[in-house]
């Protein structure tokens, strides 16, 4: 209903996260914080105000022991194909306009109205409640590639976009095509650090990239698929109860059912 036309891209950077491999160790969260210069909060006791571009949820099958099972679900920004957040921004501080389909966030443009946060059902957008303060000495370890954000703007995961820029630069230097990166030439920090290899990253449209096949697996699913936002992050699990927790089925319907509205 917004009248916003969405672009189709030749490349769709995406993830497939194997929930059966994820141990919930939180390394992806830590790597994300380091890579993106997210300052540790002085008081992080209020989890509704922390900055967690990558957040690991704990899932439970709700059964008592001995049938009790848990799974862990890392949730980055879904980089939706039809993002709910982009058309609502009044100042074009977020856009899905670059080849690869990564939803951008332009910090110097954001006015902090938080309309995009209200729009995102995944809670993948975070507000800077306070100015970042890095403990003494930590400023020496900051990434020179990523700008820090001031108080009052919204931020979110961007699949470590600066790594994409570096990968493209390297391809140019090596005489390659920056728009046809080989698998592994560009991977976000969370993918690189995952000790169990639960996160696979690549171009969802490129048959030479693993994610292309994995995303088509019968055990693959996307979160809240019925809302029609078309996330570029897929999950997979052999366990049906885990797959069922990817969407709502209370009113009937099968996993992966297409939504009715446009």
């Amino acid at each position: 209903m917004s009248g916003h036309a969405f672009k189709e891209f030749k490349i769709n950077w995406g993830m497939v996260i194997d929930l059966d491999k994820c141990t919930g160790c939180g390394a992806c969260m830590t790597a994300c914080q380091v890579e993106n210069n997210i300052a540790p909060m002085v008081d992080a006791s209020n989890k509704m105000r922390t900055l967690s571009w990558m957040l690991v949820f704990e899932l439970s099958n709700g059964k008592p022991a001995p049938e009790a099972e848990v799974a862990y679900l890392p949730r980055p920004c879904m980089q939706c194909g039809h993002p709910a957040c982009v058309p609502v921004c009044p100042v074009v501080a977020t856009d899905k306009n670059e080849e690869g389909g990564i939803v951008s966030q332009i910090y110097p443009r954001c006015i902090g109205c938080r309309y995009c946060m209200a729009a995102c059902p995944y809670h993948a957008r975070y507000f800077n409640w306070e100015d970042p303060i890095f403990p003494k000495g930590m400023e020496k370890a900051l990434s020179p590639d990523t700008s820090t954000r001031p108080r009052g703007v919204v931020e979110k995961c961007n699949f470590c976009h600066t790594r994409l820029m570096h990968a493209k630069d390297k391809a140019r230097q090596d005489g390659g095509d920056p728009e046809a990166l080989a698998e592994g030439a560009y991977i976000p920090a969370c993918v690189e650090v995952c000790p169990t290899g639960a996160i696979t990253f690549g171009d969802l449209k490129n048959p030479e990239h693993k994610v292309h096949q994995l995303s088509k697996s019968k055990n693959a699913f996307r979160l809240l698929e019925k809302l029609g936002l078309k996330p570029q992050v897929y999950y997979m699990s052999n366990r049906e109860w885990v797959r069922k927790l990817g969407d709502n089925y209370a009113a009937g319907g099968k996993p992966g059912a297409e939504k009715k509205h446009s």
Binding site: G3, V88, V92, A93, G112, C113, H123, N128, L227
Partner: protein
């Protein structure tokens, strides 16, 4: 002391009494100003908002006062374009109330955004696809229109009116008021709708999302109808409150009942479509998202009682009361219906703002609750106190009510 400034032939309370009243208002103003300074200095970290509830009391207040201030554009439209002359008895008050509501809303919006210094980005870098852009432009433009409508009322102040230039300026502005009433009606209709559209386009929020017509979701039209269904009666309630506070008759009951009839008619049309919309949403749309009607509600704080109170007790009931002449012509019943009507519309704005984002959509997520804190309440109180201040000064020194002299002989 300030008798020379009173409107021609009208009595006002003593200056001492008025000063005491202003002192009472100033307490709330100062507390609100203190909160505002703290918010601008430390940021909105001092509020009760968080990453789940990016919208809260402020946005609810914004939407509510803009709906309640709809009396200005709709009464202006009926008075100047449809030539319903009886509304001349209350049009000045409607304009002042509208001005207070819109200027107050703009102040709240400046506090609400995380980067107030970038508030002009909305005009400089507009996203033409965003309903909020439309809201920003229309509210600003309409607030300017309201200033233009308010200025001639100020120029009619007894001492100012004696200056020939000001006299002629005020006269000529009055002559052209139909033009501004028309512009105001156009602008206000669009941004009332855009405020509804802001929620209706949220494809990721099933409580608010609606299909619609062309680029406008149904909430666009529902918000317009609900605003004109409560704005006129809110103006009547303000007039009646002023009568109670001043002990003087200001607007004849015939005009009040007419405003009640206008609001009641629009509220009835609104409730008719709102009931259809709610049924279609619960019956047709929600199942496509895999959610049920029951899942939209939680406990008492986000319980179904809120929706039933909004639509039935504060929607259908006042609509019936206002369109029934025998009920409408009873002052107590008219005011009761008016209060219910206004509560219902405020509740509607609250539900679209807070309930919409409170619902956990991820099956493994949990309900979270939101409560505004002192900073949000204090600044809301600031807006209310600001409204009382503007109304008090306008009533004391400006000829707002054409019937006042005749009715208080």
């Amino acid at each position: 002391m300030d008798r020379a400034l009173f409107p021609e032939g009208l009595e006002r309370c003593s200056f001492g009494k008025f000063a005491l009243w202003l002192l009472f208002i100033t307490v709330f103003l100062l507390y609100g100003l203190y909160a505002m300074i703290v918010i601008f200095a430390k940021g909105i970290v001092v509020t009760g908002l968080d990453n789940y509830f990016g919208f809260g009391l402020w946005i609810t207040v914004d939407l509510a006062i803009i709906a309640l201030g709809a009396g200005a554009f709709f009464t202006g439209f009926l008075r100047y374009l449809l030539k319903i002359d009886q509304l001349a008895n209350i049009i000045n008050l409607a304009v002042i109330v509208g001005f207070i509501c819109y200027s107050g809303a703009m102040l709240v919006l400046c506090m609400d955004i995380g980067q107030p210094i970038r508030c002009w980005f909305g005009y400089w870098h507009p996203n033409v696809h965003s309903m909020l852009t439309e809201v920003i432009f229309c509210i600003t433009c309409y607030c300017i229109v309201l200033v233009i409508e308010y200025v001639p009322i100020i120029l009619e102040q007894k001492q100012l009116y004696r200056i020939p230039f000001i006299h002629h300026l005020a006269h000529n502005m009055h002559l052209n008021m139909a033009l501004f009433a028309g512009i105001g009606a156009f602008l206000s209709t669009f941004h009332q709708g855009s405020l509804g559209g802001m929620y209706g386009v949220l494809a990721g929020r099933p409580y608010a999302f609606r299909e619609g017509f062309f680029i406008w979701p149904w909430t666009f039209f529902l918000f317009v109808l609900s605003a004109v269904g409560c704005g006129p009666i809110f103006t009547v309630l303000i007039a009646t409150l002023m009568e109670k506070l001043t002990g003087r008759k200001l607007v004849d009951y015939k005009t009040k009942a007419l405003m009640g009839k206008i609001a009641g008619t629009m509220l009835t049309v609104y409730i008719f479509f709102k009931l259809i919309d709610t049924w279609a949403w619960a019956h047709d749309y929600l199942p496509t998202t895999g959610l049920t009607f029951d899942q939209m509600f939680y406990g008492v704080i986000y319980g179904k009682w809120l929706m039933f109170t909004e639509i039935i007790l504060c929607g259908l009931v006042p609509a019936i009361m206002l369109i029934t002449p025998s009920i409408r012509n009873n002052p107590k019943m008219l005011y009761t219906a008016g209060i219910l009507d206004c509560i219902g519309i405020c509740l509607n704005r609250y539900l679209f703002t807070v309930q919409t984002i409170a619902i956990p959509l991820l099956p493994f997520d949990k309900w979270q609750t939101y409560a505004p804190n002192w900073a949000e309440w204090a600044t809301t109180g600031l807006i209310v106190a600001y409204g009382f201040l503007v109304l008090s000064l306008s009533y004391r020194y400006l000829p707002i009510f054409p019937q006042e002299r005749a009715m208080n002989k």
